[in-house]
């Protein structure tokens, strides 16, 4: 794997601010819900399917919205495996940032609850948002695994984008 392309892809992903920030929020919500779902017997499958669908749609959305950039990069000699790292870069950025946000929010809320007498609002927030550390790490692993089929589909889509597409859109 070309790490330079991967790091540049993560930086590149940051520039698509609207899409990336929207999906960071969605992924943070997803991590909280999947963590809770995995801990609730009977709900696991429902949340796993939801996470799978979302991860797949997101990977395809990246390939679609970057289609012109992908075609240009192919014109200037990027191979399909380099292009794949663009998709991976954005997914890594969004998943890790969402994970860190949930982790940070959980730590902050637990700290506040320990420091102050937990009022009704703090208790409600704690019930809603705080995720147990083990559940959180398990969820991260689960979400990373669920991304793989989505990334595969997105890669197939990106591979099919001909370099000529960039020229036809002139």
């Amino acid at each position: 794997m070309n790490l330079r392309v991967l790091f540049k892809s993560i930086k590149f992903a940051f520039r698509a601010k609207k899409r990336v920030f929207t999906f960071i929020v969605i992924y943070a919500f997803l991590i909280v819900m999947v963590s809770r779902g995995l801990g609730t017997p009977g709900d696991e499958l429902l949340w796993l399917v939801a996470a799978f669908i979302l991860a797949t749609l997101y990977a395809i959305l990246i390939a679609q919205s970057r289609a012109k950039d992908i075609a240009i990069l192919k014109c200037v000699s990027w191979s399909n495996s380099d292009i794949f790292l663009i998709l991976v870069g954005e997914v890594v950025l969004v998943s890790l940032t969402a994970f860190l946000i949930v982790f940070q929010v959980s730590v902050e809320l637990l700290g506040l609850a320990a420091y102050f007498e937990p009022g009704a609002l703090l208790s409600t927030l704690q019930d809603w948002l705080v995720v147990d550390a083990v559940d959180l790490f398990v969820t991260l692993v689960v979400i990373v695994l669920l991304q793989i089929p989505g990334l595969y589909l997105a890669q197939r889509r990106a591979m099919m984008i001909p370099p000529m597409r960039a020229l036809r859109e002139e």
């Binding site: 330079r4 590149f12 950039d69 192919k74 000699s77 191979s79 002139e170």
Partner: protein, 225 residues
């Protein structure tokens, strides 16, 4: 005798199927030598852009052979074509085709990122060198939307030259620019090509630009006249 750097043998290109088939290129035979500046001129739809795309391996011909530096690009798999493009070809397009989310510097350097043989420092050095060549060093951190058409085309030229390819393909490089800026862009291409002993194939419908070329090829209805 020196081998031509670009060689086309009986190249045909058809679009469509059955009765709707349109022949874009008809039995093209062509040899271009290293360091030559060739202009391909002709009216819209005569097949000159298709000829360029076929030469560059962006489109496969329906028949015939295309050799770049003695390598038959019609026989190379889709997987290996990027390598050949990286080593042998630079492109300048009419619509600049810069990536909107990358700065001028990054647009140029992006060509080198996949090359693991080049260190980060070498990539930086090569990028800065071509930025200086096209006089765009001060605009290195600007995004395409913050640059004029002429500046964007200069960045596109720098991107085409950064990996020091022996061949430069230019498809209507001044088509989106006014005549004064277009002229200065053509002077840049001509000077840089001469300095670096590059082969240039320029496709244009603008007869004025042929003054920069050593050889002029005229196309009509998919054939070179």
């Amino acid at each position: 005798m020196v081998k031509p750097i670009i060689q086309l043998e009986e190249v045909n290109k058809e679009f469509g199927k059955g009765k709707k088939t349109v022949a874009a290129l008809k039995d093209i035979n062509l040899e271009i030598q290293q360091g030559e500046f060739v202009a391909v001129v002709g009216p819209s739809g005569c097949g000159k852009s298709t000829l360029l795309h076929v030469m560059a391996g962006l489109e496969q011909p329906t028949g015939g052979r295309v050799l770049l530096d003695a390598v038959d690009v019609t026989l190379i798999s889709e997987r290996d074509l990027p390598k050949v493009r990286a080593q042998k070809i630079g492109f300048v397009f009419q619509a600049f085709l810069l990536i909107e989310d990358l700065t001028a510097y990054e647009n140029i350097e992006s060509v080198l990122w996949p090359n693991e043989e080049l260190t980060k420092e070498t990539q930086e050095k090569m990028t800065l060198e071509v930025l200086r060549d096209v006089d765009m060093l001060e605009r290195r951190d600007h995004f395409p939307r913050q640059m004029s058409g002429g500046e964007q085309q200069r960045v596109a030229i720098a991107r085409a030259l950064v990996n020091k390819p022996p061949i430069l393909f230019c498809d209507e490089p001044t088509g989106n620019l006014d005549s004064k800026i277009g002229d200065s862009i053509m002077k840049d291409i001509s000077t840089l090509a001469r300095e670096k002993n590059m082969t240039v194939v320029l496709v244009t419908h603008n007869e004025d630009l042929t003054k920069y070329a050593k050889r002029i090829l005229r196309m009509k209805d998919g054939a070179i006249r």
